[in-house]
């Protein structure tokens, strides 16, 4: 068979018609490269201002081409590690996963693809810092639709608004196992939350344990530096969630609810002990006296007891927990939940003397002399007063005292029209409790609703329950009836004036805008202060107090080396988790002071 024929010989000559055709790959001969496509995956660009240094890009990079390194001019702060990605373009495989996992969408890939150098080190550069012009050439960018972050929070089941006001039943129902696993799986483990938590709890670690279905591990990790986790799981102010990387484009991980889920799996004190199974050291002979069984005092007692110290708490009230027991309403934090945690702490060997008010039932001096170290965690029991006319009328009650009575199981008659003054969590609590007592409730707050220091969830909850909020209202006078009982509140409308110094806008009353609303009770909730009357004689001089708070060093030590202080009476943030953090620092301080210098162990 012959393959050679005329057609087969001549046909290849048709190739000549392509002679002189322009090549496609070059724009111009000899060498002007083509412009890359709009989605091209070229060198990285990072918006340095937008980046929070979470390191998610470095975690996903399967070539380990990304390091997180400090940058000049970028200071780390809460919610920003201060680190920025540096990319080894010699290792990068241009998959762009770093872009798709970036929670802030600061990282993108550009159209730039040409870089020639004989210096191998020069392939290592920081996008955005070393190529600021990349901003104009961004190509492969992250969008919410293509992002690999999970922006939607698993909704928390709650009682319906009008159902809630019928009783003091807990409003938040808690995640079930499936919901908790799903919510925990959203976490990218960046650890920005750990930095923001006053107590630096190991948040990514316990969330990871929950996500893997290992709740007991989660509980153990949580108890590492927080002895009241179920309380935090229910009512923490959660600074962690404010800085959550996912919150930049979505809803933050429900860190608080996950902690709640994990700790609720341990149903009673015995189970907690079984799970945590703490190592309790041999008694070392040191005795520590603690004033106040609030979060800070309990923390000190728990961790010192584990370290072999003999701890005794003096508590003025019949129950432990401090403000978390007497200040927080039971629909947020049920009593049995607190009881089980206190019981566990007592089982570890902490002694609590209830109904023992230092300064009244026992002098401070006695405690000071009896113990090797003293910790003061007395909190802020005394409410601030408004200083307006008629404040001492009957029916004008301090919200803290009101909540104390209610939480103590007493009845308080507030009538059917309650006015609450203030915008913090105490104000909202007092309002919601009053709703549960059957009253119509109005909150007067001098700034705008968005300025309220209370949790937005609390504000929302109050509104759902029918609490009426009048913002920009400054009370000027309480009117009384002939029996000396409050019957109305007169307030002035305020307008918000921008602060010249750049602070938040100030409310300025509008003259003549006086409005009077009826009231059967007025609850004042504009803040509390300390009561240090128990410090008598030499102690009042020796232990320094400034602006209503103890002066402490980084180990919570006061100006008397033997005395430590924490909680609201020593920090400005005045929440439970800060109190626990103070307690944890004091534990280290006390241990260092005693074991480091004193008797033989």
């Amino acid at each position: 068979m012959s393959f050679i024929d005329l057609k087969g010989t001549l046909k290849p000559l048709t190739a000549l018609k392509q002679f002189g055709r322009k090549p496609h790959t070059l724009k111009e001969v000899p060498f002007v490269p083509l412009e890359a496509a709009d989605r091209y995956r070229g060198f990285h660009y990072n918006d340095i201002e937008k980046c929070i240094g979470c390191g998610n890009c470095a975690t996903i990079c399967q070539n380990q081409a990304i390091d997180m390194v400090p940058v000049e001019g970028i200071e780390g702060h809460k919610g920003d590690s201060g680190l920025r990605p540096r990319i080894d373009h010699g290792r990068c495989c241009w998959c762009g996963l770093c872009v798709d996992v970036c929670p802030t969408s600061s990282l993108s890939l550009t159209k730039d693809y040409l870089y020639v150098s004989d210096d191998p080190d020069s392939f290592l550069w920081m996008p955005g810092v070393d190529n600021p012009d990349g901003k104009e050439r961004k190509a492969f960018t992250g969008t919410p639709e293509t992002s690999l972050n999970d922006f939607q929070r698993v909704p928390m089941p709650e009682l319906e608004g009008m159902e809630r006001v019928k009783s003091f039943a807990e409003v938040v129902l808690g995640y079930n196992e499936e919901q908790a696993r799903a919510e925990a799986s959203r976490c990218i483990s960046c650890g920005l939350c750990t930095e923001a938590c006053p107590d630096h709890m190991h948040i990514p670690e316990y969330i990871n344990a929950i996500a893997r279905g290992n709740d007991a591990d989660a509980v153990r990790i949580i108890y590492d530096n927080n002895p009241l986790p179920e309380m935090c799981g229910k009512v923490c102010t959660r600074r962690c969630e404010e800085v959550c990387a996912i919150a930049h484009r979505g809803e933050p991980i429900a860190i608080r609810w996950l902690k709640r889920y994990a700790t609720e799996t341990a149903r009673n004190a015995d189970i907690i002990r079984e799970i945590v199974n703490p190592e309790i050291k041999e008694p070392n002979g040191y005795k520590v006296g603690i004033i106040g069984a609030g979060p800070s005092g309990l923390t000190v007692a728990y961790y010192l007891a584990l370290r072999g110290f003999d701890c005794t708490i003096y508590e003025a009230n019949p129950k432990a927990g401090g403000m978390t027991m007497y200040g927080i309403p039971k629909y947020r934090f049920p009593e049995e939940s607190l009881d089980k945690q206190i019981e566990y702490i007592q089982k570890i060997g902490v002694k609590i003397h209830f109904n023992t008010k230092v300064g009244k039932d026992i002098p401070f001096k006695e405690i000071y002399e009896k113990y090797d170290a003293v910790f003061i965690g007395v909190g802020f029991p005394k409410p601030w007063t408004l200083g307006v006319e008629g404040e001492d009328l009957e029916g004008s009650i301090q919200a803290v005292n009101f909540l104390y009575e209610i939480n103590n199981g007493k009845q308080v008659d507030v009538g059917d029209k309650v006015i609450v003054i203030g915008g913090g969590n105490v104000a909202i609590d007092a309002a919601r409790v009053s709703r549960r007592l059957g009253a119509e409730v109005t909150i007067l707050y001098r700034r705008r609703v968005q300025d309220m220091p209370a949790d937005w969830e609390e504000i929302e909850g109050a509104e759902q329950e029918g609490v009426h909020i009048i913002p920009q209202a400054i009370p000027v006078k309480f009117h009384g009836d002939e029996k000396g009982h409050v019957k109305a509140v007169e307030y002035l409308k305020a307008e918000m004036v921008p602060d010249e110094k750049g602070g938040r806008p100030r409310p300025v009353p509008i003259e003549g805008s006086n409005t009077i609303i009826e009231a059967t009770a007025v609850l004042g909730a504009i803040g509390q202060q300390g009561d240090y009357s128990f410090l008598e004689g030499v102690f009042a001089e020796r232990i320094k107090i400034e602006r209503g708070r103890f002066v402490v060093n980084e180990k919570q030590q006061t100006s008397d080396p033997k005395v430590f202080a924490g909680g609201d009476a020593a920090n400005r943030t005045a929440d439970a988790i800060s109190a626990i953090a103070d307690g944890y620092r004091a534990v280290k301080g006390i241990e260092e002071m005693l074991v480091g210098t004193g008797k033989d162990v």
């Binding site: 290849p12 048709t14 496609h24 790959t25 989605r39 996963l97 799903a182 959203r186 976490c187 483990s189």
Partner: protein, 367 residues
């Protein structure tokens, strides 16, 4: 006179344009009496690496199994993961996947044109086809952000939606390519040299082909119709109208003709896909990749890649990482076992033409 056999080493530097592998030939004169393949120059342990990476990170390794056809491997991995997890893929994503897979098929065949012709000394055709392949790579660049490694088909769908006006560009490119295919055929299939060098060369015994597990164009060049897209349709192939060409010759010529006709079928598929593509979602979002765990179990999926049927096996122990990823490529059978058998009795000068006709891909053999 007794002839003495000489040992000849072919490779490892790219015999043909297939990739790095070596063939040790024993030749008597120009005739091969024994061939032994030696591979191991491109081993990158992707299957093992996948066990250290999480389910999503592993996806970026898949395209690197085989340089000229990254997409079928991506597709196999994505579909295996979806099968194991029971994850639904949006209809639009399925169409986009088929579009990408068929574009990849054409791009890969364009490269094959260059290899097949180039191995016989016909270099012009290679320059044309590789040049025209760039039009498809341009499309890929616009769609996926990458020209060669697309990393585009991932578990749950595809990574990005089609850009504005992409469909028109695809159709325009298809029209252009269709015209160019005529030129190629003039230059290659009507070429007396090509016919002389390929007809009756590298003949595979059809029975042996089935027994040994030969797939793809080499099998269809033996007159046996076998194509996963028809036999076990995945994505939306069952809604598309196309033919699977077969040839009877069992030689290089037959295999080349199968491929020549397949390109035209791929163009036909792409036109239908563009026509039928529904609107809607393109991605059924996976959970947070760092904590994405697949249920315990395993899955095996088959895909019709360019060089034949490939299989992806994945096993999960319920953790964030694959327990095992195994890829069954076509090239191992073709270029290791079959090649050794096929080369015996052939001329030394035909070795690289035979390798190319079998779809040899050393990176895919070793992974």
């Amino acid at each position: 006179m007794r002839e003495k056999a000489t040992t000849l080493y072919l490779g490892p530097q790219h015999p043909g344009i297939t990739g790095n592998m070596m063939i040790r030939l024993k030749v008597k004169g120009d005739t091969i009496v024994q061939a032994t393949t030696e591979v191991g120059y491109l081993h990158r342990a992707f299957e093992k690496l996948a066990e250290r990476r999480n389910w999503l990170q592993s996806f970026t390794l898949m395209c690197r199994f085989c340089v000229p056809e990254p997409d079928p491997v991506e597709e196999s991995y994505a579909r295996a993961v979806e099968t194991l997890e029971g994850r639904e893929v949006p209809e639009r994503a399925k169409y986009i996947r088929v579009l990408v897979l068929e574009l990849a098929r054409i791009a890969s065949y364009m490269l094959w044109y260059g290899g097949q012709a180039g191995s016989l000394g016909l270099y012009t055709i290679g320059q044309w086809s590789v040049g025209d392949r760039n039009y498809i790579l341009d499309l890929f660049e616009e769609l996926t952000g990458g020209r060669v490694y697309h990393m585009y088909i991932w578990p749950g769908g595809v990574r990005r939606d089609l850009p504005m006006g992409f469909e028109e560009k695809v159709l325009k490119t298809m029209d252009y390519l269709e015209k160019r295919l005529d030129d190629y055929e003039d230059l290659m299939f009507d070429n007396a040299i090509f016919r002389k060098r390929t007809i009756g060369v590298g003949i595979i015994d059809p029975e042996k082909a089935i027994e040994w597990g030969v797939v793809g164009p080499p099998l269809r060049g033996c007159g046996i119709q076998h194509d996963v897209r028809i036999d076990e349709p995945y994505e939306v192939y069952d809604q598309l109208d196309f033919e699977v060409p077969t040839e009877e010759g069992c030689d290089i010529w037959a295999r080349a003709n199968v491929r020549r006709r397949e390109i035209r079928q791929s163009i036909r598929i792409i036109r239908q896909v563009i026509d039928k593509m529904p609107k809607g979602e393109f991605y059924n979002k996976i959970p947070n990749p760092h904590k994405w765990r697949l249920p315990k179990g395993d899955a095996y999926v088959r895909t019709e890649a360019v060089r034949g049927e490939v299989g992806m096996y994945i096993a999960s122990d319920g953790s964030e990482h694959p327990r095992r990823v195994h890829f069954r490529g076509a090239a191992y059978v073709h270029a290791v076992t079959l090649l050794e058998d096929l080369l015996v009795g052939e001329n030394v000068a035909d070795v690289s033409a035979i390798m190319n006709s079998l779809g040899t891909c050393p990176p895919e053999i070793e992974r």
